[in-house]
C-alpha cells in the first residue's frame, strides 16, 4: 500500500499545485519520484512529528494542502495534541497518513503496533477516518481526502497486501464498498482485514452460510444507510479490524446500534485486539493468531453465534 501511496501522491501533486508533502524521516527512496518532480514541495521534517503536524497546520492556513506521512503510532499517539489543537480545532485541511497500521509491523514490537489510532482519531471533532482495504481503495481515499477541506486521517498497511479491487473503486466519505454478496451474515471489515473477511466468507459459504462482505474504508463517518440495510436484512453482523476492541471500528458500529437501533434485536460480533500489549515477538500472521484475527477463527465464531441465535 505504501508504494501505491507514493505513486498516487506524486501523480496528484503534478496537477495540484497546493499539495505539499511532509514526512518524518521515513520512506527511504519511497518519495524519490515526488522529490524529483516537486523538490520545492517535499519536506523531510526529521523525527519530530509534533513539529511536523504544527507545521502542516501552518501551511494549510496559508492555503496549501499538506499531506503528512510516517509510521502510525508516531503520527497519531505521539502528536495527538498537535492534531487536536493545531489541525482539528482550526479545522485545517491536513491529510495525515499513518503507514504500517494495526499489526502490519508486528515484528517490530509494541512501539510500532497501532491498536489505538482509530480510537484516538475518531474522537476529534471534524476529523474523518479512512482505512482502505488495498492499494486501489487507498488511491480513492486519497483523492477524496484532498477534495474536501476537512482534516482527514488515513490508516494504511505496509506492502504486499492482497488486491481486493481491480481498479480504484468509487469512494465517498460515509459509503462502504460491497466486495461480496450474501444474505445471511454480514462481515464489515476495516482496512487490511478485508482479505481475511473474504477468506472467512469462503469458509462459511462452503458450510452453506451465505455471507456478504463490505470494505468499510470510511470509519468516520460510518455508512449509516448501509448499516440500516445490514441490520434489517441479515441475521448476524461481525466487525473485523486490526485495532483494539476498545474505541475502534467495532465500537463505532456498537455505538451506532445503541443509539439508533435499541428497539431491535441485533446480533453483533466484534473481532479485534484484546485489551493488552503484545509482548511476544512475531510476524503479522502470528500476531493475528494471538488476537483471533484469522479467517478460520472468525468463521468458527460466526457459526457458534448463529447456533445461539437459532
Amino acid at each position: 500500500m505504501r508504494n501505491a501511496f507514493a505513486d498516487e501522491i506524486t501523480q496528484l501533486a503534478a496537477s495540484n499545485r497546493q499539495l505539499v508533502m511532509l514526512s518524518a524521516d521515513i520512506g527511504n527512496r519511497l518519495f524519490d519520484k515526488f522529490k524529483a518532480a516537486q523538490s520545492e514541495r517535499f519536506y523531510n521534517c526529521g523525527v519530530a512529528e509534533a513539529n511536523m503536524i504544527s507545521m502542516a497546520s501552518g501551511l494549510a492556513s496559508c492555503g496549501l494542502k499538506p499531506v503528512c506521512y510516517t509510521i502510525t503510532p508516531f503520527i497519531t499517539a505521539r502528536c495527538f495534541e498537535q492534531i487536536r489543537i493545531d489541525v482539528c480545532y482550526h479545522n485545517m485541511p491536513v491529510v495525515i497518513v499513518g503507514t504500517g497500521s494495526g499489526l502490519s509491523y508486528a515484528s517490530l514490537g509494541a512501539t510500532h503496533h497501532s491498536l489505538d489510532d482509530i480510537a484516538l482519531m475518531r474522537t476529534l471533532p471534524g476529523m474523518r477516518v479512512f482505512a482502505p482495504a488495498d492499494s486501489m481503495e487507498l488511491r480513492s481515499c486519497l483523492r477524496a481526502a484532498l477534495k474536501d477541506p476537512s482534516p482527514t486521517y488515513i490508516r494504511i498497511g505496509k506492502k504486499g497486501e492482497p488486491n481486493i479491487f481491480p481498479s480504484p473503486p468509487d469512494f465517498k466519505p460515509g459509503t462502504w464498498n460491497k466486495v461480496r454478496s450474501g444474505n445471511h451474515v454480514s462481515l464489515l471489515a476495516a482496512g487490511n482485514m478485508v482479505p481475511v473477511a473474504v477468506d472467512a466468507a469462503q469458509i462459511l459459504e462452503s458450510k452453506h452460510i451465505s455471507v456478504q462482505v463490505f470494505s468499510c474504508a470510511s470509519i468516520k463517518p460510518l455508512d449509516e444507510q448501509c448499516l440500516v440495510q445490514i441490520f434489517d436484512n441479515t441475521s448476524l453482523t461481525a466487525t473485523l479490524e486490526e485495532h483494539s476492541l476498545i474505541g475502534g471500528f467495532g465500537s463505532a458500529v456498537a455505538e451506532w446500534l445503541s443509539d439508533k437501533r435499541s428497539q431491535n434485536k441485533c446480533y453483533l460480533l466484534r473481532f479485534g485486539a484484546a485489551d493488552r500489549f503484545l509482548h511476544e515477538s512475531g510476524e503479522q500472521d502470528h500476531a493475528r493468531k494471538v488476537f483471533g484475527l484469522t479467517s478460520i477463527n472468525i468463521a468458527d465464531k460466526v457459526i457458534q453465534a448463529l447456533g445461539k441465535i437459532k
Binding site: G46, A48, N51, M55
Partner: protein, 112 residues
C-alpha cells in the same frame, strides 16, 4: 531545529520571558537559563531586549540579520507590568480581577 535546517531567514520568534512557571519561579521548577545560548545552540540567531520597550523590540526585528538564519528575540518581561498590585505576583496566573480591580488597573495605565 527544523527552522535553521530549512534556512528560514524570514522567521522570527519572540519569547515572552517572565521567569515564572505555573507554580513557582522558573529557576526553582525547571530553569530555562541560559536562554540565549540555548537558542544559538539550536542554530538560531538570538537577541535580547527589554520586553516593555517597543523601541528595543522594533530595533531587534528591523536591524540587519543573517539572511538564512531564523531569529529569536528573548523579551525580558515582568508579569503584570504596569499594574502595581499585580506586578511579578504569580497569583494573577490564576485569578480574574474584580470590577473594582479592573478600574484600578485602567487608572494606573492611564486608560480611564
Amino acid at each position: 531545529m527544523l527552522a535553521p535546517q530549512l534556512k528560514l531567514g524570514n522567521l522570527t520568534a519572540i519569547i515572552d520571558f517572565n521567569k515564572w512557571q505555573a507554580t513557582a519561579r522558573s529557576t526553582s521548577v525547571m530553569a530555562m537559563e541560559p536562554m540565549k545560548s540555548k537558542w544559538e545552540a539550536f542554530g538560531w540567531e538570538c537577541r535580547e531586549v527589554d520586553g516593555h520597550n517597543l523601541k528595543e523590540i522594533t530595533a531587534a526585528i528591523k536591524s540587519p540579520r543573517k539572511t538564512d538564519t531564523p531569529l529569536a528575540i528573548v523579551a525580558h518581561t515582568i508579569k503584570g507590568k504596569g499594574a502595581s498590585f499585580m506586578e511579578d505576583d504569580n497569583n494573577w496566573h490564576y485569578r480574574s480581577p474584580t470590577e473594582e480591580e479592573v478600574q484600578k488597573v485602567r487608572s494606573e495605565l492611564g486608560l480611564s
